[in-house]
């Protein structure tokens, strides 16, 4: 914990949003991938990935540290982290009728990845907006610290 605590918080948020954007890019890139994983001898289509965000620093050990006096900044928290990247198993695969496709099943349907480009674009806009907001916070923090350095000049 130091004078840069606020900057560390914001940095963690920038990292998390960047990772979220990377996952979205991966989803968009694989919108047509029918052979993503080999399961039981059969190819499975690409499953859409999502990230789960979790606030950092709001667990028992941080509260204990605050109570013991070894650290007093953790009560505010340390930012955000991506706790896991999950596959979206709830949305079903899109079925497209194409009997000529190599991966068509017996009825002639091909299982396409469950990636909806519109939804991914909305997520991307949200991630970008969050990223920009955190950049604003970072600049504000930096300007406040620079101003404090001029006390007494």
């Amino acid at each position: 914990m130091s004078i840069f605590h606020g900057m560390n918080t914001t940095a963690s948020a920038l990292t998390a949003q960047r990772l979220r954007m990377d996952v979205i890019s991966s989803n968009m890139a694989n919108v047509d991938t029918t052979r993503a994983k080999m399961v039981d001898g059969e190819w499975q289509a690409y499953k859409r990935k999502t990230v789960t965000l979790q606030p950092q620093g709001a667990n028992f050990s941080s509260f204990l540290n605050v109570a013991l006096g070894t650290s007093s900044k953790d009560s505010v928290g340390n930012g955000v982290k991506v706790s896991s990247i999950n596959e979206d198993t709830e949305t079903p695969y899109k079925l497209v009728y194409d009997p000529t496709h190599i991966d068509a099943n017996d009825e002639g349907y091909v299982e396409m990845p469950n990636v909806d480009p519109l939804r991914e674009m909305v997520d991307l806009i949200s991630a970008t907006r969050s990223y920009e907001a955190n950049v604003t916070v970072f600049n504000a923090n930096k300007s406040m610290l620079s101003k404090a350095l001029e006390i007494g000049k």
Partner: protein
């Protein structure tokens, strides 16, 4: 009609203006000695506080930047204040030494 003179002071008021308990010379010196001692102690305290906060800043510990800056300014101000007091005391002493007896 007769105009009475305006008197700003009633005769008995002049006595009341005097200091009720007189401070002797030794008491005055003692008070000033205490004051100077306290001033020097406070300089030391402020310098120590400023040093502690600066150490915390260096080690990246739990401290706010504005507190460090303000503490260092306070240390500087108290130091200057005590220096000026010392200068004035020395000046006064030299002034008295110059007096022709």
């Amino acid at each position: 009609m007769a105009i009475e003179a305006i008197s700003l002071f009633q005769p008995n008021q002049i006595n009341a203006v005097q200091i009720s308990d007189k401070t002797t010379v030794s008491e005055a010196q003692h008070n000033f000695g205490d004051f100077l001692k306290n001033a020097i102690e406070s300089v030391n305290e402020n310098q120590k506080t400023s040093d502690v906060l600066t150490e915390k800043l260096i080690n990246g510990e739990d401290v706010e930047l504005h507190n460090v800056m303000i503490a260092s300014q306070k240390a500087s101000i108290t130091l200057n204040a005590t220096l000026e007091i010392r200068n004035k005391v020395v000046e006064a002493y030299q002034e008295i030494m110059r007096m022709q007896v």
